[in-house]
């Protein structure tokens, strides 16, 4: 499903963002990527949807070899992925329905197919009423739900989310996590980078912690912080 083998990423300015990362994620898993800012989470996420190309190593997602693939194959890869960001990245001049439909337009679906798929996915994220609104007429939580709807409208096998709740209040965050959980329950793999301790602790899944460009922890059903760290904190008090 998703395989990384000895992946390294060094930026042009010489900064080494990821070192020797090896990782396998199976279909249907829900994975949290945690770690401090600058640890390399976003670099890893960008490698996954091929916004960046690894300096060394091997990455395979949905049977695409990301290091060997040609530039013109990138759109094909991205059609098998859904990507969600902290800042939503919606097209401001398009309505909610058009934003979501765009992902289907580019793969050549007919208007009627698009209409019914968009309607369905809008219901899934609870925004059926807002179809004709523009993004700036919606709250942050609603915008993120539109972004999620766009990411899942062509039923990708993998949903990649980079701090999807980073800009949202706790209550809205809860709603977003419910949606993501439902998507995961339907069989979609979810890889989510987050800083939100509460989410990770209350909705336990596999936790991969990155520090200084390396995987330092890979724990099924783990907590946001390592238990040893927690013990230290407790004893320090």
């Amino acid at each position: 499903m998703l395989k990384l083998l000895n992946v390294e990423k060094q930026y042009d300015n010489g900064v080494s963002a990821l070192k020797n990362v090896t990782l396998t994620v199976e279909q249907g898993e829900f994975v949290y990527l945690v770690g401090q800012s600058g640890a390399g989470k976003s670099t890893l996420i960008k490698l996954l949807y091929r916004e960046l190309i690894p300096t060394k190593g091997f990455i395979q997602i949905n049977n695409f070899d990301l290091r060997q693939m040609k530039e013109r194959q990138v759109p094909q890869l991205r059609r098998t992925l859904g990507v969600v960001f902290q800042d939503f990245k919606l097209l401001p001049k398009m309505t909610v329905a058009e934003n979501i439909g765009y992902a289907l337009q580019v793969i050549g679906k007919s208007d009627t197919e698009i209409e019914s798929a968009v309607q369905q996915v809008l219901e899934e994220v609870g925004l059926a009423e807002q179809a004709t609104h523009f993004p700036d007429e919606l709250s942050g939580g609603q915008q993120q739900r539109v972004a999620i709807a766009r990411a899942i409208v062509n039923r990708p096998k993998v949903l990649i989310a980079d701090e999807p709740t980073g800009n949202l209040d706790p209550q809205t965050t809860e709603g977003i996590m419910e949606i993501l959980q439902r998507i995961n329950d339907s069989g979609t793999t979810i890889i989510m980078a987050t800083h939100n301790q509460q989410i990770v602790d209350e909705l336990p899944h596999r936790v991969i912690e990155i520090a200084d460009g390396q995987i330092v922890r890979d724990e099924q059903g783990g907590q946001y912080t390592h238990e040893v760290d927690n013990d230290k904190k407790t004893s320090a008090r």
Partner: protein
Amino acid sequence: MKWTTIKRHLRDSLRSLKRNGWMAFAAISGVAVTILLVGISLALVFNVTKLSRDVENDVRVQVLVEPKTTAKQKDTLKSELKEITGVKTVSYSSKANELKKVVSQYGNSFKMFSGDDNPLNDVFTVKANDPKATVKIAKKAAKIKHVAKASYGGDQARKLFRTMDSVRNWGVAFSVLLLIVAIFLIANTIRITILSRRNEIEIMRLVGATRWYIRWPFILEGAWTGLLGAIVPLIIIDFGYASVYRAVGRQLATSGYSLMTTSQLVWPLNLTLLLVAMLIGAFGAAISMRRFLKV
């Protein structure tokens, strides 16, 4: 490309033009100003070219016949003139006829010279196949019997040719320069509008749109910008030219020359400029978005 995709691109490009209101307006105004300048200078060049051709074609040798030449001698003279190499036509005008022309141009006071007081000569007007042969023809004609004088405007004609040539060349150079300026101006304006939409392009790439799928609506939008930008200046030029033609055309007509008629100028100019504006708009968009499509 599938028909639905083409329809979609057309629809998207028009919609985006509408929704990007102010940016589109800025780009369209930029196009309008340059197309107005290019249009005016092209109208000038076209007309200078036509006038200079008119003048060139109009250069002729005036062969003045000696007084008291008999009709028979005049016939011989005419056929001799026709035999000179490079001569196209030879036409005769009696001195009475010449006086009529003078009267019509300068007024009735010249009527006092009519009849035996007429100081003018009978005239053969000789036209050359090639205007540049005029000088040689005049020299040869001057040597024929019963010819009082053969004049072609001499240095004046040569000067006129030179002036017309340089006016035309400078006019063309100026238009080309303006067109280059127009390309830069339009491309830059579109560049700014696209710069403000780089996020849009990023998102399109993110959901798996191919480069050409992203490019087409922008290119079409550029073409619409060019088209819309060209309409107002073209209307101004069309109406403006019509009134210039009415005003200047009449004055010129008395001297035997004419501007291009409105219909002669307006249609080719409109079509050329519309096409140029659309192409520049489309190219400008394509060039401006190139770097945003790189990974």
